[in-house]
């Protein structure tokens, strides 16, 4: 649990969080426009800025009270800076050693040095001085270093911004598994909605130096006007589990309540691979969901799921309509349709319709 109320004045910019309180378990994403104060809030939470005022509790521990603050080095945090901040003139190896050598003996076990460096993809860089790494390489070293501090809290400021898509995917998986396996509460800044959907348990929205709201991922994603989704509109995140990989390369994503729904998904896993990981999240963009009054034949869309319309919301600005559906296991799914489609199909609440989903991204694998 993080709880408090922090102030930090930097020149003309004033961070004033307001009273806040949120669970620390899992991943908390700080989200907001550039210059809204995300990095400043993270630094205030970490104790790096001596000008921080206010109160802050991490669980029972008081980290800040007025002007007195627990020193950063006593907070047991791992920090990934927006600009890597590696120790110049040293090799990658000694940058990482700096972190490992200072881990107290009694800290819980974490992933090994070899595991981290290998999965972060920097094994071949260990003997290189950090000064001439590429942008992406620097970020990977910074992530490895933060994980190797065996922190009690992990704080990451846009850790993946300079990485290519494959590296991003691999590192997301790594971060996710480390913080899940070792139960490390994580505060994470990103501008990429897909990182939010993939990692977040809750989202702290920021604007102009204030926390504007703190929402669970479900709340944040299903709000039609969520700031998360200026880009791609609302998103539904469905929870379920994976079945076996079929002969034709598809895998079933099923509701925990058997028979409620079954999505057929693509996978790169070879045929016959047994259920890889029980629980999974499925990300469905509302604008990827089409609706039909009846099951449709002669079409390439395999996923046609029966659902009930709960309500229809119109966005007057765009003429787009968000159709909220309930699947038979009670999970929510949103479809975004044009006004023209809603009218021509005569859609209304309580109707049973079929949701056609062509594309859906599996978030965990």
């Amino acid at each position: 649990m993080f709880k408090g109320n922090l102030q930090l004045k930097l020149g003309n910019f004033a961070l004033d969080s307001g009273e806040f309180q949120f669970e620390s378990a899992g991943v908390t994403v700080l989200f907001g426009r550039s210059g809204s104060g995300k990095s400043t809030l993270l630094r205030a939470l970490s104790g790096l800025d001596r000008g921080t005022r206010g109160t802050l509790f991490f669980g029972d521990e008081c980290w800040q009270s007025g002007k007195t603050a627990l020193p950063v080095e006593a907070r047991d945090i791992g920090f990934v800076f927006q600009t890597a901040a590696l120790l110049p003139g040293k090799t990658v190896q000694s940058n990482l050693n700096y972190a490992t050598q200072r881990v107290p003996k009694n800290r819980a076990q974490g992933p090994s040095f070899e595991e981290i460096t290998q999965r972060v993809g920097i094994t071949h860089l260990l003997t290189r001085p950090v000064d001439n790494l590429s942008g992406g390489e620097r970020q990977r070293v910074a992530i490895a270093r933060a994980l190797l501090t065996r922190p009690r809290v992990l704080m990451m400021d846009e850790p993946l911004s300079a990485l290519d898509w494959r590296a991003k995917t691999e590192l997301l998986a790594l971060i996710e598994s480390v913080i899940a396996d070792y139960q490390i509460p994580t505060l994470y800044i990103t501008h990429a909605p897909v990182e939010v959907e993939r990692l977040a348990n809750r989202v702290v929205f920021m604007a102009e130096g204030h926390i504007t709201s703190i929402e669970t991922l479900a709340e944040a994603t299903t709000r039609i006007d969520s700031p998360l989704f200026t880009e791609e509109g609302p998103v539904s995140v469905l929870h379920g589990h994976l079945g076996r990989v079929d002969e034709d390369g598809l895998i079933a994503f099923e509701s925990a309540q058997s028979g409620a729904f079954c999505f057929w998904l693509n996978t790169t896993e070879p045929t016959g691979t047994p259920l890889m990981k029980h629980k999974a999240r499925l990300r469905v963009l509302a604008r990827d969901v089409a609706l039909a009054r009846a099951r449709i034949e002669g079409i390439s869309m395999l996923n046609q799921i029966a659902a009930t319309i709960t309500r229809i919301e119109a966005d007057p600005k765009t003429h787009r309509q968000a159709v909220f559906l309930t699947l038979s296991d009670g999970q929510a799914l949103i479809a975004e349709l044009s006004q023209r489609s809603v009218e021509s199909l005569n859609l209304a609440p309580k109707q049973t319709v079929f949701a056609l989903v062509k594309t859906a991204a599996l978030l965990d694998h």
């Binding site: 945090i77 800076f81 120790l87 110049p88 040293k90 090799t91």
Partner: protein
């Protein structure tokens, strides 16, 4: 020892190198905290204190030496105070005096360059060390000092070279006691005074060569450290 037919007294050379080395080390120990404290100050007093640190330079060395022997005389307050806390030796006319004099006179050479490099520290890297649990002393020695290495190098080189050539203060506070406080600079001066120019030239040459070697060693070491770290 004889060199080119002239007798060469090794004592002053060894003494000079010893005093210069000790002074450099003492000044690194004293000067570093002063430089750090100044570099962290935000108040207006800082400008005054910075100027104060440069002061030993503006007095002519012999005059500074004169003031020093007044301050350090065996019946003076400083000596009495030290006697009180258990140090019973004399403060002037011995190696102690040489070192005290050199330390005071060379203070600016150590403090100023180190302070400048403390000012230029990239704060975010020091912050990163804090997030890796490095306490103040830990990060001071493992991050701040390496980052400020150029300042330490310049400070040490200037201090060392200057102490080797120091004359006025050392002459006053040391008393030019043969075999005890006669540094090379005094010995050369004596030779010049008594028209023993050949000896003066030779001793100067030896000092120059010695110093070049020491400084080249320091620079080479610095390079090596840089490359090893890198």
């Amino acid at each position: 020892m004889q060199i080119f037919g002239y007798p060469l007294d090794l004592d002053p050379i060894l003494l000079t190198l010893e005093v210069a080395a000790i002074t450099t080390v003492v000044l690194l120990i004293i000067g570093t905290p002063i430089a750090w404290a100044l570099s962290q100050m935000r108040s207006r007093a800082r400008i005054f204190l910075e100027a104060l640190v440069a002061l030993p330079l503006v007095l002519p060395p012999t005059v500074l030496g004169f003031y020093l022997i007044i301050a350090l005389n065996p019946n003076g307050e400083i000596a009495q105070l030290l006697k009180y806390v258990g140090y019973d030796g004399q403060l002037t006319f011995n190696k102690m005096g040489l070192i005290i004099g050199s330390v005071i006179y060379s203070l600016p050479f150590t403090v100023q360059p180190i302070m400048a490099s403390f000012e230029a520290l990239p704060t975010q890297i020091v912050d990163a060390a804090r997030t890796m649990r490095a306490s103040f002393l830990d990060r001071f020695f493992t991050v701040i000092v390496p980052l400020a290495r150029q300042g330490f190098l310049v400070g040490s080189v200037l201090t060392f070279a200057h102490t080797v050539g120091e004359f006025g203060v050392v002459l006053m506070v040391g008393g030019n006691i043969e075999g005890q406080t006669r540094t090379v600079s005094i010995a050369i001066f004596d030779h010049v005074e008594s028209f023993e120019y050949a000896e003066a030239h030779m001793l100067s040459l030896i000092m120059v060569i010695f110093s070049i070697l020491v400084l080249m060693f320091v620079y080479a070491l610095n390079r090596k450290l840089q490359i090893k770290q890198a």
